[in-house]
Symmetry: C2
Subunit: 229 residues, 2 copies
DNA sequence: AGCGCAGTCAACACGGCTGTTGATTAACTG
DNA sequence: CAGTTAATCAACAGCCGTGTTGACTGCGCT
């Protein structure tokens, strides 16, 4: 269906056999062309992330993205399959990273206290580093994506679940070892901690005076030691 | 424009002069009719709230609402001006209540500690009581409604701001009196506390085993005394 | 000069959603 | 029965957003 548009794949197929000067120059030309291609593609993706974050995925139109990227709307369909594809690409990579991060922390040999602190810091720093890509994902409700039975949606839901499990695990360990004390169960506490971090999508700006790491430390202090310590 | 549809207003105009038996009967008939009208209207509104919460305001269609309410789509336009009107009605009243609540707490003579706890409990209980009406509001980002310059939007943004101010005030009082201790400033802490509560729109269900009040108490304990107390 | 190809852009088809209207039904009233 | 009125419903108009197509441009290569 989109075979005529897969320039990227075509370009990536390097021919190792040809080593003459001419073909080297060709290869170089193709490589720089490919780099340009990727640059423009990334620019469009960045524009899309901004627009999606500001307007919300369903409200934003492909034309909004085009205007932001200063490109013709139809050209976007040259770089991406469509609106959904835009969302998937911006969200996919970074999310998987975050899940790995959470699981690594959970299975590390730190104390529960330090695990939870590190989780919060790393999470917010990740939101900052990938701004605004990851916030688009945070903003869009997973339970809504569940309607869509596509493999991508399933994968995203699975990743989401693994993340939650890792957080709950950290809390549970803390409760069991009496490092943490609470009237609620681990899931509830996890919901509170994660919610505190995720709600930052409504107010955090990377250009603001506070770095994500500072914010996360303040939150961690609050959760771990309490305001009335 | 909609004059031919304002049955409700027409009905509400009671004629105190007529007191004969016949007119009394008429009045009674109209009253029960009006009650029925309000009931059906409320049913539609409830359906709309459910659909908006599940699908998101912009994704949901008026037809989705109609199907949920088991009514013809066009009939919805008999009861409401349109999709926006649906949103406004479900969100308007309860929000104002919440702001009053927050301001009352802030200006009461409790300790900062008890103010913050009560705020969290009352907020979550309100979300539970008005479920799912208020979560629709929490879900929809205010900064997006800002685009729309309607008086309603302005009022909502103003209410939102008053709420935030009240919360910050409580925290500030706590910090000043040394009842609270934190590395961050009042706004940041407020963002954390409010975020923790608001994120509940993603997972809280009134039919679940935990009441909102319990949840809020757990959260308050965590924030005030810390997990490592 | 002539070929090929990445990339752009105007124009179109299509579908879905909103809001309206006018006819129609059902229930009540005298 | 005839008149009135709330409420429903089928059908329609218009708009907006998506995705596609085919022609066009500009550039590098031979």
């Amino acid at each position: 269906m989109y075979s005529s548009r897969n320039h990227r794949k075509k370009r990536m197929r390097t021919k190792a056999a040809e080593t003459s000067k001419i073909s080297e120059r060709r290869l170089a030309a193709r490589k720089t062309a490919a780099v340009e291609y990727e640059k423009r593609r990334a620019r469009v993706l960045k524009a899309a992330a901004e627009v999606f974050k500001e307007l919300g995925y369903s409200t934003a139109t492909v034309d909004d993205v085009a205007k932001r990227a200063k490109i013709d709307r139809a050209s976007i369909y040259y770089y991406f399959k469509g609106k959904k594809d835009l969302l998937r690409e911006m969200v996919g990579g970074a999310t998987a990273e975050n899940v790995d991060m959470a699981e690594d922390i959970a299975s590390s040999d730190r104390s529960p206290r330090e695990k939870l602190r590190k989780l919060m810091v790393d999470l917010l720093v990740s939101y900052e580093r990938h701004y605004p890509y990851l916030y688009v994902y945070v903003q869009e409700d997973m339970s809504r994506l569940l309607q869509d039975k596509s493999p991508w949606s399933k994968r995203m839901v699975a990743l989401n679940h693994r993340f939650d499990v890792a957080v709950v695990q950290i809390i549970q360990e803390g409760l069991k070892s009496k490092a943490f004390r609470s009237t609620g169960d681990a899931k509830l506490i996890a919901a509170g901690v994660v919610g505190m971090c995720n709600w930052s999508h409504r107010w955090f700006e990377p250009s603001g005076k506070r770095r994500a790491a500072e914010i996360a430390e303040t939150f961690a202090d609050m959760v771990l030691d309490g305001l009335c310590s």
